[in-house]
């Protein structure tokens, strides 16, 4: 490539980029509100708090936190939907909650109401038993389920752990399921022997991981936190279920959306950010907005099918 051509290319890029960059250059000029749909100190809050400082360095404006808890995050989603679309209100959200709230009619919104900025963390589901259980592998688990009445605990209704349990049940493993509503309650029920096994999530379980045996994890590939634990796929079950946490906003102007997405990418490119997240038990998995949106759309069908399956079990 000749020097002139390169210069011409550079100029074209610069000129096409300028109009897009110009309005974004004056964003943000004031603090950005962060709407968190779950309690302070929880995963949704922690993910943002961990990069609070980096956000301010990147954007030159601080975040202010607003907690809108309730109805499995539906309240926060509705609030985001009706917020001003100027980029000064963004939110910390997660899926499958975004789609299950639509399916269970808790949230009156559609996927088009939001701009998806970036996925930044995942929280995989896994199957575990207590340390002194005779069950040592998924094979043992299946054998025990087939030979007698087996009770499996899940954290939530229509969350990743419940979906994983439903899928395995659908694959023909006979057991009953109970949801406890929160990670700590599920873990204590499992450690106390009130359920035989439990589907848990990594985020809320890391502190008591030494008290349990992890049988299999619902990620696509082996999880770096549990290198010795097989995935369900390896064992022949097509179960990939995790909570994915992301940054979203009411539908924004493209240039503001771009500015936020680029900034977030820059933040999560920093190795110290990934390390800080890992120390807090949050596994960073960065995905851009377009891929994230595609994944969320794809999760619709599975969620719908599993909710229907769960209702058919209840009616029996």
């Amino acid at each position: 490539m000749s020097l002139e051509k390169l210069a011409a290319l550079l100029m074209t890029v610069l000129f096409t980029a300028l109009p897009a960059a110009a309005p974004a250059a004056d964003y943000p000029t004031k603090p950005v509100r962060m709407i968190v749909g779950w309690a302070a100190g929880g995963g949704a809050d922690l993910m943002i708090r961990l990069v609070e400082k980096e956000f301010e360095q990147e954007f030159g404006q601080p975040l202010t936190f607003v907690y809108k808890t309730g109805a499995n995050g539906a309240i926060a989603a509705m609030d985001l939907k009706s917020a001003r679309k100027d980029g000064y209100t963004i939110g910390s959200y997660c899926n499958p909650h975004l789609v299950t709230n639509i399916l269970t009619k808790k949230g009156q919104y559609s996927l088009d109401d939001f701009s998806y900025l970036a996925q930044t963390a995942i929280d995989p589901a896994f199957l575990a038993v207590r340390k002194d259980s005779p069950i040592n592998s998924v094979e043992d688990f299946v054998r025990a389920a087939e030979s007698g009445k087996m009770l499996v605990g899940c954290i939530d209704y229509f969350g990743p752990t419940n979906f994983a349990a439903l899928k395995m049940h659908k694959a023909g493993i006979p057991y009953s399921m109970t949801s406890f509503g929160s990670g700590p309650k599920t873990i204590s029920a499992m450690l106390g022997g009130h359920v035989d096994a439990a589907f848990l999530m990594t985020g809320t379980s890391m502190s008591s991981i030494s008290e349990m045996k992890v049988l299999a994890i619902a990620t696509a590939e082996r999880d770096p936190m549990f290198p010795d634990v097989p995935t369900f796929r390896e064992l022949g079950y097509d179960i990939v279920n995790y909570l994915y946490r992301f940054w979203m906003a009411p539908k924004l102007r493209p240039e503001v959306e771009q500015r936020l997405a680029d900034g977030l990418r820059a933040i999560y490119d920093r190795p110290e950010v990934i390390e800080k997240n890992a120390r807090a038990g949050l596994q960073v998995q960065f995905l851009d907005g377009a891929t994230l949106r595609k994944n969320i759309e794809a999760s619709f069908a599975e969620a719908e099918e599993l909710i229907e399956y769960s209702n058919s079990l209840d009616n029996k």
């Binding site: 100190g41 087996m150 009770l151 109970t178 509503g181 009130h194 890391m206 502190s207 120390r279």
Partner: protein, 667 residues
């Protein structure tokens, strides 16, 4: 092992006692106590608000700070309970029963100090138990399955029967109303909307703390305005209050210590917590007391016992956290978030990898509880000044403070509306002799009961329901305790009645005219509403989500019908006296001003509307009630007072905590 723990404890003590750690601890205690005192700031909120400040601290200092906030906030609720009958925390509801009576008797200072000493003692008991027994205790706590939680909550509910001898039915009805309120929102069996009647705002259910503030704070403020006195309670400072509180504590040290140990144990159960602990402790102490009648009439034991129990829960809630990595309360769960951000993983691994930090933390709780007496003493002394302020200023201040507190919990004006309406209803409950404490108990215990009932039914798929519910050892224990707790007061009341002379035939005549009395009409309304809910429950899609509502509203119908029947038999009562008629008018005026302010928020902004609310209430009191002549100087003085109070709220909530409030023309 014992000496090992002891030496680690001493090392931890020395670690915790660096000047910077102690300074952070004192700040944490003060923040916790003041936060805990304010209605609307829960212990969890206080800790969560403090977490960002700990990010820059060393892990040890951060833990010490969070532990101090946790201890301070758990105690702080007592101050507001005692002084203005407004529990700052749900766990201080029981403290108000005797605490406020003491204030009315002019013994506010003693009550405050007794609560302080008992709280600190409870905290120390909890810490010692945590230090020595955390491993065995954690495995005992794990034995509690959903069926045990269910029965334990039912046991807590039986407290209602013994709470107010002579009005068992009304207290039970109040409990049913509380349980009924807890069924609105998402049902726990599948997160499906229930009784929301298409309203999006109802989807999130009623916030427990908003209801508490409404039940106690708003209704109490309305009740206070009705009285003629200029101050909430006559109050003369008598020197030596602390000494008298101390000797009362020493006198009752045994019973307080026992409740502390019991409180620690209840604290170890994930999901139970300080409120359940204080309810059970108060009830049991009253039951086993030689003279149970003294409770509820202003005895220091009635203040010390629930306070000791709820602070002992702090240590208890950390037991499963330290032994198994499971937080025993929502506050402990928030602390886990703070720890994780520090790169520390709480739980068994912490004792292996960071045992120094773990023991420093536990030891620091010990010191924090000792320091709490000093910090709490100063704050309590300042707080008693509230009683020197005329009630015409206290009432609007507390009402506006409750509004901003309710708003800040979830950031929605709907909660403010719930606060005002529920507050108004709670005032009517007071008037028709329906104890708000009963409603509060129902609200607290309802979700625990229903959630565990449904989990148990679901678990029974893999075994038998009867086996789980009735024949597991812990279930049987709580069933027997509940039965005793129900039967004993009923028997006592029956015996008391037999001693009284039988009423003559004419006195027992049925008086249909009684049914058009105000209170009878209220009970009739409650009956009708309960029936409506039963019908609505029949339409629910899932059968499971209707079980608990059927039971609760069925109880509501039963008790309200029973009360109506009793009232039919009552002798005729006199109508309203002119004074009472006037009092009704005053209450309506105050309530109307508050509602008007709620409407104006959208146009003026939150604090401007609150300013107007306060100003109008003050002006109403000065110019209409006291009939002072209208002058510019008076107006200016009232505006200045309102500005100072609302300005302080603005600074505290918006500037310091960072709550975003609705903005209209102004803030």
């Amino acid at each position: 092992m014992e000496s090992d723990v002891f030496s680690l404890f001493i090392a931890g003590l020395l670690n915790a006692m660096t000047p910077s750690n102690l300074l952070v601890m004192i700040i944490g205690l003060a923040v916790g106590i003041i936060g805990g005192m304010l209605p609307g700031i829960a212990v969890v909120t206080a800790i969560a608000l403090f977490i960002p400040f700990t990010f820059t601290m060393s892990p040890e200092t951060a833990l010490i700070a969070l532990g101090a906030v946790y201890s301070g906030a758990t105690y702080g609720g007592a101050n507001a309970s005692i002084l203005i009958n407004t529990p700052g925390q749900p766990s201080s509801v029981m403290t108000a029963l005797d605490g406020y009576q003491l204030t009315l008797q002019g013994k506010a200072e003693e009550a405050l100090y007794a609560a302080l000493i008992a709280s600190a003692w409870g905290g120390i008991i909890g810490t010692v138990v945590l230090l020595v027994f955390f491993r065995p205790l954690a495995s005992v706590a794990l034995k509690f399955g959903s069926e045990s939680f269910f029965w334990m909550a039912i046991f807590g509910l039986t407290t209602l029967a013994a709470m107010f001898p002579g009005k068992v039915c009304k207290t039970m009805l109040a409990g049913a109303i509380g349980l009924g309120l807890s069924t609105i929102g998402l049902d726990p069996s599948g997160g499906i909307p229930r009784f929301t009647f298409g309203s999006f705002n109802l989807l999130q259910g009623f916030d427990m703390i908003v209801l508490m503030v409404a039940l106690f704070s708003i209704s109490q403020m309305l009740a206070v305005t009705e009285e003629n006195a200029d101050y909430i309670a006559k109050y003369d400072r008598v020197p030596g209050a602390f000494r008298r509180a101390w000797s009362a504590f020493v006198h009752s040290k045994l019973v307080v210590t026992v409740t502390g140990v019991a409180g620690t144990f209840i604290g170890t159960l994930p999901g139970a917590g300080g409120t359940v602990a204080s309810i059970i402790a108060y009830n049991e102490a009253k039951r086993w007391d030689k003279n149970p009648d003294r409770f509820g009439k202003g005895c220091l034991d009635g203040v010390m016992i629930p306070e000791c129990a709820n602070n002992a829960c702090v240590g208890g809630a950390l037991v499963p956290l330290m032994a198994l990595g499971i937080p025993g309360s929502s506050s402990a769960a928030v602390m886990v978030g703070g720890l994780l951000a520090q790169g520390l993983t709480p739980g068994p691994a912490m004792f292996l990898n960071n045992s120094g930090i773990a023991y420093t933390f536990i030891s620091s709780l010990f010191i924090a509880n000792v320091f709490m007496i000093a910090v709490g003493y100063i704050i309590a002394r300042v707080c008693t000044k509230i009683l020197d302020v005329p009630k015409s200023i206290i009432v609007p201040s507390v009402i506006t403070l409750s509004c901003i507190g309710a708003y800040s919990l979830r950031g929605t004006m709907f909660d403010v509306l719930v606060l005002l309406i529920a507050g108004g209803l709670a005032y009517i409950f007071l008037k028709i002799d329906l104890p708000p404490v009963g409603v509060a108990l129902g609200v607290v215990l309802g979700p625990i009961i229903e959630e565990n009932l449904l989990v148990t039914i679901s678990r029974a798929q893999a075994s038998s329901l009867a086996e789980l519910f009735l024949f597991s050892p812990l279930s049987m224990l709580f069933i027997i305790l509940s039965a005793l707790s129900l039967a004993l007061p009923l028997y006592l009341e029956h015996r008391m009645k037999r001693r009284r002379p039988m009423p003559t035939r004419s006195a027992r005549a049925i008086r249909p005219a009684n049914l058009i009395r105000f209170d009878s009409l209220c009970y009739l309304t409650i009956l009708v509403i309960c029936c409506c809910f039963i019908i609505a429950a029949g339409d629910l899609e899932k059968e499971d989500s209707a079980i608990f509502p059927y039971f609760v509203f069925g109880a509501g119908v039963f008790f309200s019908a029973l009360i109506l029947f009793q009232q039919l038999l009552e002798p005729a009562r006199e109508g309203l006296t002119p004074q009472k008629r006037h009092a009704c008018f005053v209450i309506a005026a105050y309530f109307g001003i508050a509602m008007l302010a709620y409407i104006l928020v959208e146009y003026l902004g939150f604090f401007s509307a609150m300013f107007l609310c306060m100003f109008c209430m003050l002006a109403y009191d000065q110019f209409v009630e006291k009939a002072h002549s209208v002058s510019l100087a008076r107006f200016a003085r009232l505006a200045l007072v309102s500005l100072a109070v609302i300005g302080a709220q603005y600074l505290a909530f918006t500037r310091l905590i960072g709550v975003e409030t609705p903005v209209g023309l102004f803030v």
